[in-house]
């Protein structure tokens, strides 16, 4: 498989209005440089998820333009992976078959598919669960399978829509650390929607604070901690200060 290259992202003056509804996003401009880890936080209704869906080409902007490596998302899908709020594993496939799915849809040979799927399951620590069906797995394990599936095609851009929101804190922290470790092994640009400010600061080099009604970029917070980051970062005073700062910023734009 070719060496992956992290993608660049450009969101230029994008507005989005669903038929008959109010404006969800108004004049949003954002860029993602290759290798950026961008966290999107903001009150509910600020259009975080819509922004992510625009980046995946699952919905189209009403005005403005979204490009990934210079082309529209629908043409960049080869380089793009989406991790949904739910693990969205196909319940009738085993963990391994689920991880194989992106390659299977592309018509890859069964043997190559299996090798790659087992390699990825090992990377997320689930080689022992390859033959299990999703319902036999815990919430955290399902998310790991979902993560492994997203990485099968070595995406240049990973879009994550609050993937760990339903997990307990310990599991969530572990998965955050794993996500960063996976990124070191195969670099990608990431856009990560979350409700957790501490998660946003731990993962990203840029935290974008969005305001609601209509959704717009309210503030950007740079996170200066170098990668690779380890779990110990959470105990550092600088990290905790930045989390407090980001929380304050979020409160400013939180309409009651």
């Amino acid at each position: 498989m070719n060496a992956p290259r992290a993608a660049s992202v450009a969101i230029e003056n994008v507005s989005k209005r669903f038929a008959g509804g109010p404006e969800v996003l108004a004049g949003v401009s954002l860029t993602g440089r290759p290798g950026d880890f961008v966290a999107l936080i903001g009150p509910s209704g600020c259009g975080k998820t819509t922004l992510l869906r625009l980046l995946a080409g699952l919905t189209l902007p009403s005005a403005g333009a979204v490009t990934i490596d210079g082309v529209i998302p629908a043409e960049a899908r080869e380089r793009l992976a989406f991790i949904f709020q739910e693990p969205t594993l196909l319940p009738w496939l085993t963990a391994r078959q689920n991880v194989e799915l992106p390659l299977r849809l592309r018509g890859a040979a069964a043997e190559a598919r299996q090798t790659r799927a087992l390699e990825l399951l090992r990377l997320v620590g689930l080689e022992g669960a390859a033959a299990q069906f999703p319902r036999q797995l815990s919430g955290g394990m399902k998310m790991r399978v979902s993560l492994a599936r997203a990485l099968t095609r070595q995406p240049g851009l990973l879009l994550l829509d609050e993937p760990f929101g339903a997990l307990d804190e310990l599991t969530r922290n572990r998965l955050n650390e794993d996500l960063l470790r996976l990124r070191e092994e195969s670099p990608f640009t990431a856009f990560f929607v979350t409700h957790s400010v501490s998660e946003a600061v731990f993962l990203s080099n840029r935290v974008i604070v969005l305001a609601a009604n209509p959704g717009r970029v309210a503030a950007e917070i740079m996170v200066p901690f170098p990668y690779p980051r380890r779990a110990e970062l959470r105990e550092s005073l600088d990290y905790q200060k930045l989390v407090a700062h980001a929380n304050a910023a979020l409160r400013t734009y939180q309409t009651a």
Binding site: A56, G57, L58, R77, E78, L80, A81, F82, F84, Q85, E86, T88, L90, P91, W92, L101, P102, R104, L105, R106, F133, P134, R135
Partner: protein
């Protein structure tokens, strides 16, 4: 708890209910002094079934064949119609009311029409079994095909799946539990349709519906009429049992409905 233990316990409740019902049956005959030509005693029914075992056995076989034919056509046709109905909202809006016609027009109206078209006998009877079993499969499968998880559809879009891949790898497997639910109902209805058809338009004396005509003509043969009911019950049970087993085989790994005790 080990599996054999559970099996034993699962068999127990229906066996107890059965015993209680038979006791109630006896009690009703004794207390209200019900004559045998109105409600025969259980042992009279069993004796009649044993006496008539040869004709009942043949009849079950013939009726079973007809029901199976109608059932298979209903399962295949129901699934095919569901695929068409689920293909677009406009197609569904245009066709659904006319699919309902099949379900809404009573069998007693259909039978004379079929008899005029194809004559009395097996073709008309199979058509009745088909019609009565068809609707649950079509309705349930259509529901399954339009209930595909939105997140999974998005996933397939992002993964650049072709339309055919979306249908065969996502929509059909997720509709399978719905299809099987419809087929389960069809399995109970097809034998009923066949027996009704035989009763109203049958020509073969060795069928359950026709035997009913023969027995009920003789007031002394009330136990035989009940024996036909018993045979119909076992025929239906066989149909449902096979479908239940198939459903369990296909869904046990992944669907909640067939989840075993763990």
């Amino acid at each position: 708890m080990s599996a054999p233990d559970q099996k034993k316990i699962l068999w127990l409740p229906p066996a107890l209910t059965g015993a209680a019902l038979v006791a109630l049956w006896y009690a009703a005959i004794a207390i209200f002094k019900i004559p045998g030509y109105v409600l025969p005693a259980p042992q009279a029914v069993i004796a009649a079934a044993w006496r008539e075992r040869a004709s009942l056995g043949h009849a079950m076989l013939h009726t079973g064949e007809t029901a199976l034919l109608g059932f298979a056509a209903a399962a295949a046709g129901g699934a095919a119609v569901a695929l068409v109905l689920a293909s677009s909202r406009w197609v569904k809006a245009a066709l659904y009311p006319w699919v309902l016609v099949l379900q809404m027009v009573p069998v007693v109206v259909m039978i004379p029409i079929f008899v005029i078209w194809w004559g009395a006998g097996r073709p008309s009877i199979t058509a009745i079994a088909f019609i009565i079993a068809f609707f649950p499969v079509a309705a349930s499968t259509t529901l399954g095909l339009v209930s595909t998880d939105r997140g999974m559809l998005d996933l397939f879009t992002v993964l650049q799946a072709s339309k055919a891949q979306e249908i065969f790898l996502l929509r059909l497997p997720s509709a399978l539990p719905y299809f099987l639910a419809g087929v389960k109902i069809a399995a109970t209805l097809a034998p009923i349709g066949a027996i009704t058809g035989e009763f109203l338009a049958g020509t073969n004396p060795e069928t359950l519906g026709y035997l009913l005509i023969v027995y009920r003509a003789d007031p002394g043969k009330m136990p035989e009429v009940f024996a036909v009911a018993l045979a119909s019950y076992f025929l239906g049970l066989l149909f449902v049992g096979v479908v239940q087993w198939l459903s369990w085989r296909l869904l046990r790994d992944w669907h909640e409905s067939e989840r075993g005790a763990e």
